[in-house]
Symmetry: C4
Subunit: 294 residues, 4 copies
């Protein structure tokens, strides 16, 4: 009977493993994980709506937010416990030591930070202002990152662009600084004494708004000389300031394309060698699991 | 005599077919269809002018709008009837069943929606506010789409860009969201308590205006810390947010070039095989038409 | 003596020909023509300054403008007469018929329009408002165009971009129109009834300012729904609206590069065949000129 | 003992040489020079902060600025003296004549201007307004340029882009001018008589803000005709005005990539020939130095 029960437990755990661990599947995402991704995305929509005074001032909306938050926190808590539970199926994380190793992984810590602080506040019923806690919800982004490997492309693109990005950035900053100094002396120090150009840091704000072509219109030169300089700076400088963004975008795009190709290649290979893959793959057969993991 | 009359009717109908059905001609557009395209474009100009209070408040302009609208609605009604009438020359749409099949095509429904609602209101003399009806005029775009195959390039470009577009879009949205959260905490929650950053959705509006470099100037950071963050976000982020637009534009441009090449190739081929094309082409010879189509 | 005088006149005329006719020289520009180019550029600076009330209200500046204008008009008048005079050295424009042919050339008419209207007003002392006349000064651009062949690149680039430019432009216009209609219904017709979106033409102004990322900030959506739509439109549409500009810029750049290469090639060829070029070139030897040209 | 002392002095000087002269090292930067670069960067941050009234009005910040400025000026003075001192180790700058030659180099003059004027004012205790002097601090950029050869890429990129950049720039300026004239006549001279378009120079300011897509929003057309023209200009012109920036950015990027490749190649070569390089390299062995340099 104990064996029978063990088998059931093992079967359930194995099933959970396949549902929760993204590496257990090729190309597709399990229903459970899809639900978690949807929940994370929804929690970001709610995080945004929750801060809106027009909604937050209405009792019904506050009730919706409260219920949703409780639901999300408990869902993520359950998910976390289950993840730790099934991690034992992986030989690397078996036993208490393995579990500790699993729990100190980057992704696991992010998982914990995504619900624990809010859970504690909820359970303790503290009157702590929740605003600071809400920032911790951004850790939920990392929860998604697990399923979308493309999320670490940012770092990879920066590394790939390397020196070129750095030089372009340095040039852009020099141009911004020199433009700001010029306009500070023309508009801020000269006769006009415009408030918006009264110091170099303020002039830098103008230079960035102008050279990125954002141009809010909160600051702009008003003297003929200032406008002349600003015109020359705008026409000459936009190319330089757009350079780091362009270099980064290009590296980003290259990285993206390469990964996609690599992934497609890997998928094709995996499909063709599906039969002999399982034995030396990461997913252990239920029967080979000692079953003493937790 | 009956035969003679039939011949005349057939001749007229065949002529109409060649005038109305774009597939009946290679490369060029018939005078009738050119007139319809011009009428659609003109109706868009009038749709725009009609909403302008400065014009709509003048009795003469209102008269012009009324006359033009009546003319357009009746012209499109006549066009629709004629299209259904000549459709019988195509073996596919012959007989009553064929006509029903023709009338339930996407293009035919768009043709109908482009004039019928306004015609009904006109004939019934209802006092229904015409504003809601005017939106239906956008269906007239589809009338043009028939002659300009390039109009479905949008969808084709999106499909072509595929995963790359999606990833770029996801990155852009993450950046917009994270920037908005950062500025919300700096400008909205902090000491300044700026109205425009009072919630994350409002901060998202700022983030989009900034990272697309539109920069209306209705929202911008005012604290030194907020400006510092906004500057870093602007310089680093513009490349990322421009990425989906760039990916899409590139796919659009590629699609455009390929189609053009394909079209030129097809036209060359069609010209060289013009002689033997007609027998198995879509256009039936008048003599082979049963004449019982309507 | 008459022969002697003729020789001198011929020599002077030949010299003038080489100074005035750009085709008489390879690669370099004569001192006289350089002076004319500088005068044209300066006249544009003065045209701009002259319209500035801050300067025009001062008697000294008005005097400067008057003297400069008289000088320019007379200089261009003298230039025109001389050009007509030396044109006789070219067999094509010899005799009275040739001169008429020369004077009805596009460039000659532009030369005439660049000074004649102002000269007439000056000599007649009419009280005609000079503002309308000033527009004619833009014809002086064509005076420079003669020396800078690159100036007709605009047209060449448009032709080169061809269908692709047209389709991209059409797509951009459709997007602008549809965006404007959407925002008109959301912001203008809905509850908010914003003045800036009160009609489709006004909403088009918003759509263009947004989709080109100019973003003056005179018009922007204020309702949550309007901002949501505007955000989607901005992120999706900027790529499309930037497309015609991109296509044109690319064609422009290609055209520029090709011409430069062609010019360099031609110059190399011309240098190597300089010796045998003159006989069958356009420039006649002084001795072969009948001398009865004027 | 004298020999011993000479040896010590020589050793110190040689060590200083290696610390101060960037050419004495391959790829890496010495600790001293890194400190100087950091000091220069910090001095730019302080230059900016110093002009900020919000900080400059506080006595503590003024004290910080004063102490930092004195420190920087003395540090750069010491650096300058040491550089002149160790320059003697280089055969080219040995002796008094060599030193004069060294001191009249571009870099040395920039080094001097980076601290001398402020030092004089400090020592003399003059009440001269320091604002004008602060501009001279921009010479400190050249101090960094020595370590970052990429800083002269600006000039190289301009040269590389050459005629293409010039033509693109000319086209952009013509477009700006013609757009400005058009809007001046429509908005400034016509019935509306808008202040912002009251002269061509003011309209040029609008044209530049629009065609670079900065769009501050301080100037924009308000008449229907003006908006129509501005729309056409914006859609057609943005590509043209973006062209010089694009050409420059492209040349900049090409230059950057080429240099990086050249540098990597040189470094590889230098490493492989490290052993035999010293004898004919620039760095003299201590023993071969006459020791009479200063």
């Amino acid at each position: 009977m104990a064996v029978q029960q063990l088998m059931v437990q093992k079967g359930l755990r194995y099933k959970l493993y396949q549902e929760l661990v993204p590496e257990a599947r090729l190309r597709s995402i399990s229903v459970t994980n899809l639900f978690i991704v949807a929940l994370v995305l929804l929690s970001f929509v709610f995080l945004a709506l929750e801060t809106e005074p027009a909604l937050n001032s209405q009792a019904e909306w506050r009730a919706v937010f409260r219920v949703f938050n409780i639901f999300v926190v408990f869902a993520f808590a359950v998910e976390y416990v289950l993840r730790v539970f099934v991690a034992g199926l992986d030989p690397e994380y078996r036993g208490i030591g393995g579990r500790l190793k699993y729990m100190t992984r980057f992704y696991s810590i992010a998982d914990l930070l995504a619900f624990l602080p809010e859970l504690i506040v909820m359970l303790a019923g503290f009157g702590i202002p929740l605003i600071a806690l809400r920032v911790l919800r951004l850790f939920r982004l990392i929860k998604i990152a697990r399923f979308v490997p493309a999320f670490d492309i940012f770092g990879a693109a920066v590394k790939r662009a390397g020196t070129q990005l750095l030089t372009a950035l340095a040039m852009a900053l020099v141009l911004v600084y020199v433009s700001a100094v010029a306009l500070y002396f023309i508009e801020g120090v000269g006769g006009e004494q415009q408030e918006s150009f009264a110091s170099i840091p303020r002039a830098i704000w103008w230079a960035i708004a102008t050279l990125t072509t954002v141009g809010y219109g909160d600051v702009y030169p008003v003297t003929p000389l200032g406008r002349m300089f600003a015109s020359v700076i705008a026409i000459a400088g936009i190319g330089v300031v757009a350079l780091p963004a362009g270099v980064f975008a290009s590296a980003f795009s290259d990285e993206l394309r390469e990964r996609q190709e690599a992934k497609e290649k890997a998928a094709t290979h995996a499909y063709s060698s599906q039969a002999e893959r399982t034995p030396d793959g990461k997913v252990p057969l239920p029967g080979t699991d000692g079953g003493l993991g937790d």
